[in-house]
Symmetry: C2
Subunit: 205 residues, 2 copies
DNA sequence: GTCTATACTCTGATAGAC
DNA sequence: GTCTATCAGAGTATAGAC
């Protein structure tokens, strides 16, 4: 079932508004105005605010997971993989500044919205990625290239923290450090190198 | 002006509800019920939902900043300071699991709520902490104890990222990694050591 | 200070014409 | 499929008695 132009317009605007205001803060009227369509159209296509939200949320999660999974599963050594992951995370979430906030926020407020099938537990993070990274870590440890302390879950959490937290707290960061939008973008771009270096330094023996 | 018992009860409950549901998601009735007082009392003491929210928000930020500032300004060497900061951040925000989310969320949705006077720019982070840490870094670099790449703002952002992101994304983390509340607490407690080590390893020459 | 009852507003949702 | 008009419910806020 192909999406009509109106449907697409609604989804684009819904994404924009839900990202910034959240489920409760968003107004159907605002979404309609932004999309340039009548408010009744939102209900015609999506029945209810909640269902529209779920659609947006699902598409958001699905826009992220395959990209990350590709990096995790690519055929490259650990250092390269870390560099790629950092770059990918920062690019991905800087281009959608509200996305990380949106996912984390809405999920902590409505944990039931975490459809496990979307995150694909069996074939996803736990099933494939963690073991794979564990194995790569093991190889590097045996080669003596990294210290044997770090665990894969820990490493992944650390990398995601270093990449995503500054984006999520961008507002606070910019105001407290007194930097404008342009400098923030430069700061985060530079972080692609510094975070990678920071992580590599941290795990080398 | 001393707070009456009722006023205190309302603030405690308001904190609880606002933390979890946010400004828009919270209901005055829920706060009243939780506090065991009449809904009209909330308006009697705080006039409006927004004003009650502002009060809660202000107290939240003020409960955090002095504690952190103390660590930054304590008279200890850099390594000790980093260890303390990590421990403090994790303890502080694990005890109030929704606090970090609350602050970051509401601030990214309503940037105007960031009263600069609360964060105390002149005497606070930018004015005192950053220069101080910079100076400490300089000393350690000259002693040859750390590599000369890292900047103080970067270091602070990294430490906060490593401590706060896992707490903020606790829901997602627990579900994707399939760990229960108790193991999560152990995981974060262990992180006090591993994050400290990770950071120290990252900055040593 | 505290309660009950009520007013008012906002907004999600639907009915029905075109 | 799209629009106008309208309803119904929820939720904030206030008036007024005690």
């Amino acid at each position: 079932m192909k999406k009509t132009p109106t449907e697409v317009k609604i989804l684009v605007s819904a994404k924009k508004v839900f990202y910034q205001k959240g489920l409760k803060g968003a107004r159907m009227q605002e979404i309609a105005d932004d999309a340039g369509v009548n408010k009744a159209m939102l209900h015609y296509y999506f029945r209810s605010k909640e269902k529209l939200f779920d659609k947006v949320f699902e598409e958001s999660v699905q826009s992220v997971t395959p990209v990350l999974m590709n990096v995790f599963l690519e055929d490259s050594d650990l250092n390269t993989k870390i560099a790629h992951l950092v770059e990918m995370l920062i690019d991905l979430f800087m281009n959608e500044p509200y996305l990380s906030n949106f996912i984390v926020n809405e999920l902590s407020q409505n944990p039931e919205k975490l459809f496990l099938n979307v995150l694909d537990l069996e074939d996803g993070l736990i099933g494939k990625v963690i073991p794979l990274i564990n194995q790569q870590l093991q190889v590097e440890i045996e080669k003596g290239n990294i210290n044997s302390e770090i665990r894969s879950a820990e490493l992944i959490v650390n990398i995601m923290s270093l990449c995503l937290f500054p984006i999520m707290s961008q507002t606070v960061l910019q105001k407290t450090l007194g930097i404008d939008d342009e400098r923030m973008i430069r700061f985060m771009n530079k972080r692609k190198q510094t975070v990678t270096q920071f992580v590599l330094d941290a795990i080398k023996p």
